[in-house]
Amino acid sequence: MADILHIARRELKIGFRNPWAYSFLALFCTFSLGLLLIHVNNAVEGYTAVTGSMLSLILYLLPLMTLFLGSFSLTSEREDGSWQLLSTYPIGTLSFVLGKYTGLAAVLLTIVAFGYGLMGLLSGLLGMAFAADTYFLFLAFSAGLVLLFLTLALIIGSLSRNRWQALTISVAVWFFAVIGWPTFLIAGLGLLPYLWIKPALIVLTMLNPAELVRLFVVVKLGGGSVLGPEYYQWVEWISRPGGSLLFLGVCAAWVLLSILAVYWIWERGRSRG
């Protein structure tokens, strides 16, 4: 436990001395404030064009930011030789991975908190109508997105030999999960018989953190009916308070499995190296 904290603390320090973190912070703030100003006359409440475009913006920006910062942090351990140094200490690989995850998560969540803090403050000063539940939902949505994509980032970082490889894979994963997702799915699922499409779609959606979190927020914003008759039972389920728990469970499972995968990769590397 002390090891985890130690590594997390180290990660936090490195993270906040990383200029990349601040450039993303600036980017996130600029875009979210810009969006807020465009819609200064519209209430931010429920599922509307305002919340819809905020949702899209966050889906573009946060996963990319998380993938970059997360994967670079791991590759730099290798590139700087600090992992080789750490390996000589009696620190377990799991402690290392968990410490990395916790530290990076804290850095990213601080960036998100800063952005939302600014957003909340500004909307208050401008006298905008920003419903509290919508605000907190978006905060939770962004945090969820960061935590889920961070596990992906760690996997990418573990598999990449250097920073450039990590960058390439990160962009590819981001494009696949956020931009290309419907295109690939529609093309792929079109080959299946009609009755298989819906189950396949549901399983695949569970595997894509961007879609998973987006749909959760759309449903919680009250927009679940727009997903149509095929999913109304799911929507009803998620709309209830128990649905949030279920969603948290799925996310936790996601994070745990991915961290185990990262652990396995590093453990293998350690035993070989």
Partner: protein, 174 residues
């Protein structure tokens, strides 16, 4: 060739198109958008690739068949007027009368056998018994206008005419 047709036959033999229960929360008529009530007027069909369509009136199902054809239909079901059990469209008997109220006012109701249909006609003292085959040549007129001839009825008929023409032209487009 023979082998192929055998395969197709086998495939067809395996496939069963069971009627799907009506869910009033989400089921709407594919044609007219009205909620499908879980009542004796509900009908449904399943296409060969497994898509299920529900209708609130036999007339709406007929509209769907007119615009989409019947080749792709795996099975179509109507309901018995008395006990709401699902009956295959081709095996059911039908009663038509303009004064029968159905959700889209087509005035056609379905029965599981001819005896039940005849009993209904006898009891109500109105209506004509039709088979599924005879329904094909049925004119499917919606009762938009009751028989009482007030001063509006002439105008009403004209409007009805033009709206029917509109429907036909659209069908050609689709």
């Amino acid at each position: 060739m023979v082998a192929m047709s055998l395969v197709i036959l086998a495939a067809c033999g395996q496939k069963k198109y069971e009627p799907v229960a009506i869910n009033e929360d989400v089921d709407i008529c594919v044609v007219c958008n009205m909620q499908v009530k879980d009542d004796a007027f509900a009908t449904q069909l399943t296409t060969k690739d497994g898509k299920n369509y529900k209708f609130d009136d036999i007339g709406c199902m007929n509209e769907w068949k007119k615009s989409n054809g019947t080749e792709q239909i795996g099975m179509d079901y109507v309901r018995d007027y008395n006990d709401k059990s699902w009956v295959e469209f081709s095996k059911a008997s039908y009663v038509y009368d303009a004064s029968l109220r159905t959700p889209m006012a087509y005035g056609v109701i379905s029965f599981k056998d001819k005896a039940a249909a005849e009993a209904f006609v006898k009891e109500q003292a109105l209506g004509t018994v039709l088979t599924a085959g005879e329904l094909a040549s049925h004119e499917w007129k919606q009762n938009k206008d009751m028989m009482n001839m007030d001063m509006q009825s002439g105008e009403g008929h004209m409007e009805e005419h033009s709206s029917e023409e509109g429907t036909h032209s659209e069908e050609k487009d689709m």
